[in-house]
């Protein structure tokens, strides 16, 4: 058979036709792969370096496959770092508890009753969120010096409420607004006291929202850096501050630093998997629902 140009180019043409038909998808996937590399590279570095020994961590070209070692974790958690992680846990749980205890009833009140001056409070909460922490934290630092609240858990937790409490009230109101008033009313007609109606009827209905808010608040205080840097001391220093302080000092190498980073990242990752449904609502203060 005589090979003509047409028969030679047949596979090429088929490929071209395929590309033309699926051009949109191909471009999309190429861009997404590039984006994914950008997003995953630092996470890959962090995870892989945390399980390398010091020499492998510094090696160029990068050693992608090494025998994993836990020595970095035993090293850092055997030292002071465990104490700092515990501080982070205490502060994160404490500030989440305070935010929910004060913020949930306030969010309920905000959603249900025509509070006079609701507009003023709205504006104030938006401002409290928008305002940069330096504006609150640094005056608090000076006030704490006189009140002996520097380097205490309660001082740091109180400072965190500057952002967390407005956020909790705001988002809980969004969730309470979705529960029809008729539900509360029906409970009262059936003879529930007001407290009981809130506790037994309304709260179970907003439970998914409540856990979302709780976890988002927990995440925010878990990873918070600026306030902790300024308001903590040797006793209450939290893990993010400690990690930053180790750069170029106690930790001799990157692999221990990376292990500390992994300790910071993993709880947040787990928490996010739990709340992923509510994540976007939290990000947008309930403005974007899905």
């Amino acid at each position: 058979m005589v090979k003509t140009a047409a028969t030679v180019n047949q596979p090429l043409r088929a490929r071209r036709r395929f590309l033309q038909r699926h051009a949109g998808l191909v471009v999309t996937l190429v861009l997404l792969v590039l984006g994914a590399i950008f997003v995953l590279l630092p996470l890959y570095w962090l995870l892989s370096t945390a399980f390398k020994n010091g020499n492998d961590a510094f090696a160029l070209p990068p050693r992608y496959v090494t025998k994993p070692t836990l020595s970095n974790f035993t090293q850092i958690l055997g030292g002071q770092f465990a104490h700092y992680v515990l501080n982070s846990v205490i502060v994160a749980i404490g500030s989440t508890a305070v935010a929910l205890l004060l913020g949930v009833p306030a969010g309920y009140a905000f959603a249900r009753s025509p509070v006079r001056g609701a507009k003023v409070f709205n504006t104030w909460f938006v401002l409290a969120y928008v305002a940069p922490p330096v504006v609150f934290i640094i005056p608090l630092y000076i006030m704490y010096q006189h009140l002996h609240l520097l380097d205490t858990y309660q001082g740091l937790i109180l400072a965190y409420e500057t952002g967390l409490l407005p956020f909790t009230i705001w988002l809980m109101r969004v969730y309470f607004n979705e529960v029809p008033r008729e539900l509360d009313e029906a409970a009262w007609i059936d003879g529930c006291s007001k407290m009981r109606a809130l506790w037994k009827v309304v709260l179970p209905t907003v439970w998914p929202g409540l856990t979302t808010v709780g976890l988002l608040v927990f995440l925010a205080s878990w990873g918070e850096y600026f306030g902790a840097l300024i308001l903590t001391g040797p006793h209450t220093e939290t893990a993010p501050v400690a990690v930053e302080g180790y750069i170029g000092t106690t930790f001799a190498n990157w692999s221990e630093l990376a292990a500390a980073g992994v300790v910071l990242v993993v709880p947040a990752l787990l928490a996010t998997i739990v709340v992923q449904r509510g994540f976007v609502r939290g990000l947008t203060f309930g403005a974007v629902k899905q």
């Binding site: 950008f38 630092p42 070209p61 305070v98 330096v134 529960v179 009262w188 990752l269 992923q276 449904r277």
Partner: protein, 332 residues
């Protein structure tokens, strides 16, 4: 994690109970008149009693706490901005405008302001642009694409300090992976964090790592929630893909895009961890933005009064783009 990013479970819908949940307000802010049966009247009476007592008790502690931790420090900071309080001088009185005069005349402040504008504008524009693109790409229902959604959710959960450590290792000039890869491709290897030309772009790229996914996730949620009918109608009418996006889809998700830009603007002005870990404001002044400068002046150098005045400047500078974005959101 499933591909359905952030989809809400079915909550109770007000319509299911036959009445819209919020009645239009009547006089004096009370729920508007409904001609109810006796049971409902009892309920309404109970509501108003409930309103007065229980709600006040429920709301007051939180409002008090917010007042204590926001209003008082803010006013204290504003007051301090008129003082010359620093590590050697304890005088708060008499108040003067000296700090504000220094701000206006000091060339360092001008550089810091310029850095802030460059950083915020670049970060917000790039993150909103790329985030919009990424969100639109991720909205495709193809099963190859939905698998990517979870990847772009990851940076949202990573504490800023951990991200900064990772990037500072990757961007290290002699030991970092990025310059190694660039070397393999025979591309120039910039001195990322240690040269005044590349430091600010490096911080912006690092900020994009967490910022672009935030915008993308919000855009994606808005796209999933957008009504399909107008898009299908436009398709039937033979509108091109670009025109469908430009005239139908984009207007529908516009509020979400503006909101995302607003959130990123706030985050850019508040960014601290990246500057502290990656560059420490340097080399020289090249990555010193106002937020970081306030910290340096107050905590590092002990110039409390001057730092407080810079804090006031920060609030004023932030107000301009935020008011614009709020106005844009309100108009829609």
């Amino acid at each position: 994690m499933s591909g359905q990013l952030g989809l809400e479970g079915p909550g109770p819908q007000p319509e299911l109970l036959g009445q819209p949940s919020r009645r239009p307000p009547g006089p004096a802010g009370r729920p508007g008149p409904v001609r109810p049966g006796p049971a409902r009247q009892v309920a309404l009476r109970t509501w108003s009693a409930f309103d007065r007592k229980f709600f006040r008790i429920a709301a007051i502690p939180a409002f008090l706490a917010v007042f204590v931790v926001t209003v008082i420090p803010f006013l204290a900071g504003f007051g301090l901005s008129f003082s010359s309080l620093n590590s050697v001088d304890n005088h708060v009185f008499p108040p003067t405008l000296a700090n504000y005069k220094t701000i206006i005349t000091d060339p360092v402040t001008h550089t810091v302001l310029l850095n802030t504008v460059i950083y915020v504008v670049a970060a917000v524009v790039l993150e909103t642009g790329f985030g919009l693109l990424l969100g639109v790409l991720l909205a495709s229902k193809h099963r190859f694409v939905t698998g990517f959604r979870v990847i772009f959710l990851l940076p949202l959960t990573v504490a800023s300090v951990a991200a900064a450590i990772s990037w500072s290792a990757l961007l290290n000039t002699s030991q970092g992976w990025i310059n190694y890869y660039l070397g393999l491709l025979h591309l120039p290897q910039p001195n990322w964090l240690a040269s005044s030309a590349a430091a600010m772009p490096s911080v912006i790229i690092t900020d994009m790592w967490s910022g672009v996914p935030v915008v993308a996730v919000i855009v994606l949620a808005a796209l999933i929630g957008a009504p399909r009918d107008p898009i299908e109608a436009a398709m039937v009418d033979g509108a091109s893909a670009w025109n469908r996006f430009r005239y139908v889809t984009f207007p529908a998700i516009m509020p979400a895009v503006v909101l995302a830009a607003l959130l990123r603007t706030v985050a850019a002005f508040q960014q601290f961890a990246l500057f502290e870990v990656l560059t420490g404001g340097g080399p020289g002044l090249s990555t010193t933005v106002i937020n970081f400068y306030v910290y340096q002046q107050t905590i590092v150098y002990g110039n409390v009064g001057y730092g407080a005045a810079l804090g006031v400047l920060l609030v004023v500078v932030m107000a301009v783009p935020l008011l614009l974005l709020f106005a844009l959101m309100r108009r829609r």
